[in-house]
């Protein structure tokens, strides 16, 4: 097991608003981590910093010992919380694009998953339903053989049956040595697949624990603990 991500004194401010404050974090390989927190707690800000979409106000982030840059982007596969692909493109064109730029992209895996879902690769994204677009995005992200998958709200806005499918795709398509960070509000749906949880509130890490420890030491489910910690 090796350290994949290391954040030290990480802060991010939007004008006068502090989105992240002095976050210190270490993520090891081979884990599925739930990044949990209420709205506006700083989850997406942290995720965007890890992906180089936001520049931190202070602090450092190292991915496999290197700062955010080309090397970190080679090993991180990121699913944003909204549609980010060109809607005019066909799925097959996007697969070609991913294959061109990501050395670890497994084209066959992508086409297999599309076939299982009955999605025609020649269809354009704009002709698809919201749920299908989200599935296509997830297929693209999970078809990479990355070291770290960062999934921002992967099951939000889809029906329970689709949630099961998405979780199944996630669990069956990552290598054991890789880690997955899943940001979500829907804790009960993912609780069983998580190894660790990170509770984040007001831009600060409130709790870092393994799921087993929460169950054994506190005798609660992650969902129950979340409700207790973040009670309004």
């Amino acid at each position: 097991m090796s350290t994949l991500v290391e954040c030290t004194g990480l802060s991010k401010k939007y004008g006068k608003v502090t989105a992240l404050q002095d976050v210190n974090l270490r993520i090891e390989s081979g884990h599925i981590i739930g990044l949990l927190g209420p709205n506006g707690s700083g989850k997406t800000t942290l995720i965007k910093i890890l992906n180089g979409l936001l520049t931190p106000s202070s602090g450092t982030v190292l991915v496999k010992g290197k700062p955010i840059g080309i090397d970190s982007k080679k090993v991180i596969s990121y699913l944003p919380d909204h549609t980010y692909l060109n809607m005019n493109q066909r799925v097959s064109d996007i697969i070609t694009f991913f294959k061109t730029f990501y050395e670890d992209f497994d084209e066959r895996r992508a086409y297999d998953m599309l076939a299982k879902l009955g999605i025609n690769p020649k269809d354009r994204l704009k002709s698809m339903s919201k749920g299908t677009k989200e599935k296509v995005q997830l297929i693209l992200v999970m078809s990479r053989r990355a070291d770290l998958y960062i999934l921002d709200e992967p099951i939000a806005g889809v029906d329970p049956a689709a949630r099961d499918y998405i979780l199944n795709v996630i669990l069956t398509n990552y290598d054991a040595s890789a880690s997955i960070i899943i940001s979500t509000h829907l804790i009960t749906d993912i609780e069983n697949v998580l190894d660790e949880v990170l509770f984040i509130q007001n831009g600060q890490i409130r709790l870092t624990s393994s799921v087993d420890a929460i169950r054994e030491e506190q005798g609660k489910s992650v969902d129950a603990l979340f409700r207790e910690v973040f009670r309004c």
Binding site: L53, L54, T55, I70, D71, K73, K74, Y78, F101, Y102
Partner: protein
């Protein structure tokens, strides 16, 4: 990776550009056959009866209006589309993909700049060919006669007389000028959009504000330089034309000298202004894409 990015940029833009170019070609040819020529020569007509002549007249007017619109829109539309493409792919939702690709931020910027410059250049070439075709269609016989009588040495002599450069050199520096002016125009908007995305709210409005400020600063600098150019040219006139303040009667040599001084001073001053501002805009874009991406 830069090559792959450029290839992808062309793939993403060629269909729109192809439609614009086909529209330009169709309206140019339509105008050649039905439009301009009809105004130029009333006796010219394809049709033998009144109904067909009316149809021809309607087609002529339609193609002429369409041509005027296309000529104005061709380069402008290319420019707007390239700026829109830059914004969408760098700072809107698609920016999430662009900035998470394992390529350097400068490659992302350069790919968009190079692709946009190439499309602007192609649009310019198509516009020139289109205008040439219209000119030929006005009087084809006169054109071919002029071409038959064309003397390169006389043409080159005229070029040297009025600019101080032989035609191949003149063409080369003209292309360089077009390249720098195009880069300047594109980078002005790219830099404004890049700065605008740093704003927490109203990013596009902020970008428009930066764009207006840049344009104002550049115009101000150009005006200041032009004032200096006029002073310099007038000084040169006084030194080389003894009777400059009392009489404008110039010899052929004096006229040529003054033309060359005016051309070269103006050309290289404008070139320098465009190049310096383009470099400033590029640095702004580069710093932002490297260190201050702010996709909230």
């Amino acid at each position: 990776m830069l090559g792959k990015l450029i290839k992808h940029e062309f793939r993403s833009t060629y269909k729109t550009m192809l439609v614009i170019y086909i529209m330009t070609i169709v309206t140019t040819l339509g105008c050649c056959f039905f439009g301009i020529r009809q105004f130029y020569s009333y006796s010219w007509s394809l049709a033998e009866n009144e109904t067909l002549r009316r149809i021809q007249s309607i087609l002529g007017i339609t193609f002429t209006i369409a041509y005027v619109v296309i000529v104005i829109a061709l380069v402008l539309l290319t420019y707007i589309l390239m700026c829109e493409r830059f914004y969408k792919s760098m700072y809107s939702e698609q920016g999430y993909l662009t900035h998470t690709l394992p390529v350097s931020p400068l490659s992302n910027l350069n790919a968009r700049l190079i692709t946009s410059l190439i499309w602007l250049f192609v649009s310019g070439i198509i516009l020139l060919i289109s205008i040439l075709l219209i000119a030929i269609s006005l009087d084809p016989q006169a054109f071919w006669e002029d071409l038959r009588l064309f003397s390169y040495s006389a043409f080159d002599g005229g070029c040297v007389y009025s600019t101080g450069y032989h035609f191949p050199v003149f063409l080369l520096i003209l292309l360089l000028f077009i390249l720098v002016a195009g880069a300047n125009a594109l980078l002005l908007v790219f830099a404004a959009l890049s700065l605008g995305q740093l704003a927490n709210l109203h990013k596009l409005r902020a970008a428009v504000g930066f764009g207006v400020a840049f344009a104002f600063l550049e115009q101000f600098a150009a005006t200041m330089v032009m004032v200096r150019i006029v002073d310099k040219v007038v000084d040169d006139f006084r030194q080389n034309v003894p009777h400059f303040d009392t009489s404008w009667a110039l010899s052929i040599e004096q006229t040529g000298h003054l033309a060359r001084v005016t051309f070269q001073t103006t050309f290289w001053s404008m070139f320098s202004i465009f190049a310096v501002f383009a470099a400033i805009y590029y640095v702004i874009c580069a710093v932002i894409v490297k260190k201050h991406v702010n996709l909230e």
